[in-house]
Structure formats: C-alpha cells, structure tokens
C-alpha cells in the first residue's frame, strides 16, 4: 500500500511542471471520462423505470408502450436470437477466410482481398438495412412462402454479413502474428502447410480468435439500424422459441424506433434509457473480457529465451 501512495504525488508533481503534459493527459483520459458520464447519465435517466419495475424491466415478458408495460425480456431474447444466428454463420465463415487469406493466398492477391474486406466493414448499417429490405427480405419471403420476409432469419443473415469482416480482420491479425520461427521449424521437419496450420498456428491463435468472436458479438448486439429495417419489429418471443421465421424486436431497434415519440421524462423515456443501460453493461463486459483473453493469450505465446 505504501508503494502506491508514494507514486501518486510524484506523478502529479510532474504533471504540474509541464503544462503540455496536463493537456495530453486530459485528452488521453477523455475516453474514461466519457464512459463514466455515460454510465452516470444513463443510470440517471433510467432510474425512474428501474424504480418502478425493478428487475421486471429486464425479466418482464410484455413490452407494450400503449399500456405502459415495460418488460424487456422479449426484446433481449430477440437480440440474443439474432446475434447467435449471425455468429453461427459469421464465425466459421470468418475464421476460415482469415486462415485462407493469411496462409494460403499468394502475397500479391492478399492486399486486394484485405482491402475488400475493409471496404465491406465500412459500409454503413443503413445501407445494409436498405439492401436487406429490398433484396433479401423478399427473397426469404418467397423462399418460405411468407407474407413478409422481415424476421429473425433475415436479420441474422444481414448481421452475419456485417460481423464477418470484424472476425476476419482480428483473426487474420492474430494468425499472421504467429512467429515465423515456429512455422519454419515445423516446415523443416517435413510438415505440410496444413499440418503446420493445424498443429502450430491454430493452437496459438485460439485465444485471439475467441477474442475476435467476442468482439463480433459485441458489435452484433449493438447493431441498430440494419436489424431495425429487417427484423419485423414485433415485441413477442417467437413460437416456437427457435422459430427464426417469426418477426423479432431487438433491444437496439426498440430504442431507435421509440425514442422519437417518447416524451422527455416519461416512463417510456426512462424505460428506453434502461434498455440503453443494459446494452452498455453487456457490451462493456464483453469488451473487457475480450481484452483480458487477448492479454492472457499473448503471454502464453511470447515466453521465449
């Protein structure tokens, strides 16, 4: 304990002597200050709803604005349904593609594909939603003989396309970061490229790939506009619960749709902030975990002479 206390005064003393360092420090602290303010204000605005409903805000099964009932369970369920559907597609797709890009592709083509993936990643969600609505939704509708193609399946598919670049990007970095020495040693023993990838590269990349999946999860659960445009937006758990062809209403979509009409300070307004708080907490935890996994993984990999 003594150690810690000694350090702090020195730190601030130095800060005072160099005004530029104060400015720099302030800029660097911006993120943490903003996060703190976010938490503060979201709790402040959501407090009303939480005090009225308590845990039922999260667990309650009915979300009906007209009757002032705010149970977010169907919404949370919708979010998880859509996100897991998306990840089931994007994780295998993303990981295999990143292995392919890093290990198989000749150098010359690699940059082109990486740039294409980067471009895919920067397409705005409103455009994804637009494309989903006018091409994918009608296609799903005709494929399954539905009246409307706006359901959990379509939302999952669009989300899958949106999260794959994230997974490819991060996994690709991790796989490329495996030290060349190990790969050379394996090849010198007569291993084929695939044996090297399977026996050396992948085991080392496991934690990084897991982290990329978690970050993909975080992105997916926070995705608003694209899902809003294709999910159907009905606040009900599908029947049966795994029916992806039913419409769903993810948490993010609810906030975006209903904020416009919620009167400031009303119960509805507060409930929406409550939802925002839930999202904030979930993504905060997921991101922190992902970072921890990456740190732990790189320690394991780095222990050399």
């Amino acid at each position: 304990m003594k150690h810690k206390m000694l350090k702090t005064p020195k730190f601030f003393k130095r800060l005072k002597s160099q005004p530029i360092e104060v400015i720099l420090f302030f800029c660097a602290s911006f993120s943490i200050i903003v996060l703190f303010l976010m938490l503060l204000f979201t709790v402040k605005e959501g407090f009303f709803a939480f005090s009225k409903f308590g845990l039922n805000l999260i667990l309650g099964q009915r979300w009906d604005t007209n009757r002032n009932m705010y149970g977010a369970f169907p919404l949370i369920y919708s979010s998880f349904m859509v996100v897991s559907g998306a990840l089931m597609i994007s994780v295998p797709l993303g990981v295999s593609t990143s292995i392919f890009i890093v290990e198989v592709m000749p150098f010359s083509l690699r940059d082109i594909f990486k740039s294409t993936i980067e471009l895919l990643a920067s397409i705005p969600s409103v455009i994804y939603g637009f494309i989903g609505k006018i091409t994918l939704a009608p296609f799903i509708a005709s494929l399954f003989g539905l009246f409307s193609g706006e359901n959990a399946l379509t939302a999952s598919l669009i989300l899958a396309v949106m999260t794959t670049p994230t997974i490819i990007g991060i996994s690709g970095e991790i796989i490329a970061a495996v030290p060349k020495d190990y790969k050379e040693a394996a090849l010198a023993l007569g291993a084929t490229k695939w044996q090297t990838v399977k026996g050396i590269v992948l085991p080392l990349s496991k934690s990084g790939i897991l982290a990329s999946v978690m970050l993909g999860f975080g992105r997916a659960i926070g995705e608003t506009i694209a899902v809003l445009m294709v999910a159907g937006n009905v606040a009900k758990i599908p029947t049966p619960p795994w029916n992806y062809l039913d419409p769903v209403y993810p948490v993010t979509a609810v906030i975006a749709m209903q904020m416009g009409e919620a009167a400031v300070g009303s119960l509805e307004y507060s409930a929406l902030f409550g939802l925002g708080l839930i999202l904030f907490v979930i993504t905060f935890i997921v991101n922190t975990l992902a970072d921890l996994i990456v740190k732990k993984g790189s320690l394991k990999r780095g222990a050399k002479l």
Partner: protein
C-alpha cells in the same frame, strides 16, 4: 503425392467461405448500382424542397468535418500521451482499456447519451453541434488507435536526436515523430470519417429531425443527413421510391471513396517512407 492432393483439397475448402465474402460484396454493390439511373447532377444540386438531395449531402459533410475537427486533435494528443508519456502501470492500462470500451459502445447508446448530455444537459438541443460532439465520440477510438500505430512505426532515433540537442520532450516528439507520422494520422482521421459518414443511430435523436428543412444557419440548428434521411424514407415512408436509391448510392459512394482514399494513402506513404521495410 497423396499429401499434396489432400492439402490442396483442404485449402480449396477454406477458399469457399472467401468466395462467399466476395459474393456478398458483389451483391451489395450490384444492388446499389441498379439505382444508378436516378443519380444525376440535378439530383445532387437541387434542394430537398424541390426534390433534390443537396442539403443532405452538405449536411453529411458538415457533420463529418465538425466531428473530425473535434476528434482529430483530441485523438492525436491522446495517442501521443499514451505512446510517449504514459508510465506503465494500472492507470495507463485503465486508460487504454477504456478506449477499447468506448469503441465497443453501441451507436444507439452513444446516441442516447448524446441526447441527454449534449442536447439537454448542455442545452444544445437537437443540433449540428450536438451531432458533432456525438459523432466525435465515435471517431475518437479510431483516431487514437490509428495515431498510436503511426507513431510507433517511426524510429525512436529521430526523437532521440532532438532530445540530445536539448529539446524538451514535447518539442522533440512534435517536431520529429509527429510530423513523420502525419500520413498515418491523416489516414486514421479519414477512416474515422468513413465510419461516421454513414452513422444513423448516433444522430437519430441528436442532430436530425424528420421535417424537411434547408441548411442549418448556425450550429445550433438541426441538420439533414444522407444516412438519416435514407433511414426515415425507408422506415417511415414504406416502399422506397427511386429517389431513395439515389440517396443510398451517393452515401455509399462517399463512404467508399473515403475508405479507398485512406487505403491508397496508407499504401502510398508506406512505400515512400524510407524507414519502413
């Protein structure tokens, strides 16, 4: 020879997902291009009040530039602190971690915060200024990470030579490392702009209103934006008219151009800088 054949098969199988990604890209671009007929100079320059999309384009530009103007300097200075000044320890790790956490906050939550903090608490109302601040929050992590990377690639010897001549830390860093990493910094700002150009949820309640209006006369007025209007047109007004295709295509072109420009900039300067590979 068996080993090689099996290997080829495995890698070919891995290549199939890659194909899917390409197909997805082609599908997206292809669909957008079907609307190319609606885009002409007239559409771009006519006011919204007369059926064009001029104000939307300008509005998006305003938002981008303002956000960059805020997130750029703060982000660069933050990155300089983290790379050059920060002592290793718990506090620094927390600062670093919080940047990742900020990057992971869903855009709609940032929008909520923007509304309650910038619009209401700071009394900016639904305005361009509030939009700037909210979007800057989203750009910040991108600029910080990009600048960090750029700074780290510059050899320490430049800075050390300046220090050996008696320069202060800040002088040494700003005159050598920072100027050498400018291309990388500019690239990350452009990438940040590409990210927020299409952002809808964050400006949904902070900067835009659904009433059609002209250009904002001051930063305290709401603004029109391509992303927002595209969204409203489709969701609130139902089946997209031809004009919607035009908005989508213009938005996509802006985002794509920014992204491509950033990529080209990065590749070009990587070749030019003699200390890199």
């Amino acid at each position: 020879m068996n080993g090689i054949v099996k290997e080829r098969l495995i890698f070919a199988t891995l290549g199939i997902p890659m194909l899917f990604c390409l197909l997805a890209f082609i599908w997206i671009v292809g669909t957008l291009l079907t609307g190319i007929g609606t885009v002409n100079w007239k559409l771009l320059t006519t006011s919204v009040l007369k059926g064009g999309i001029f104000e939307m384009i300008i509005g998006t530009m305003y938002l981008l530039l303002g956000a960059a103007g805020i997130a750029g300097p703060i982000g660069v200075l933050a990155a300089v602190y983290l790379v050059e000044y920060a002592p290793s320890g718990k506090l620094t790790r927390m600062l670093d971690q919080s940047i990742n956490n900020l990057a992971g906050v869903p855009s709609v939550v940032i929008g909520l915060f923007g509304y309650t903090f910038f619009c209401r608490q700071l009394s900016l109302g639904v305005s361009l200024a509030a939009g700037w601040l909210t979007l800057a929050l989203m750009m910040l992590p991108i600029v910080i990470r990009g600048t960090e990377e750029a700074i780290k690639m510059v050899p320490a010897s430049f800075k050390e030579a300046a220090l050996a001549l008696g320069a202060t830390r800040w002088r040494a860093v700003s005159s050598t490392t920072l100027s050498a990493s400018m291309p990388g910094i500019v690239t990350s700002v452009i990438l940040g702009m590409a990210r927020v150009a299409g952002e809808t949820a964050a400006i949904l309640f902070t900067a835009c209103v659904s009433v059609t209006r002209g250009l904002p006369r001051s930063p305290f007025e709401p603004v029109m934006a391509l992303s927002y209007n595209l969204f409203v047109q489709i969701v609130a007004l139902g089946t997209p008219a031809q004009r919607v295709f035009g908005i989508a295509l213009v938005l996509f072109s802006i985002v794509a151009s920014l992204a491509i420009f950033a990529i080209i900039l990065r590749t070009h300067y990587r070749r030019k800088q003699p200390w890199l590979r």
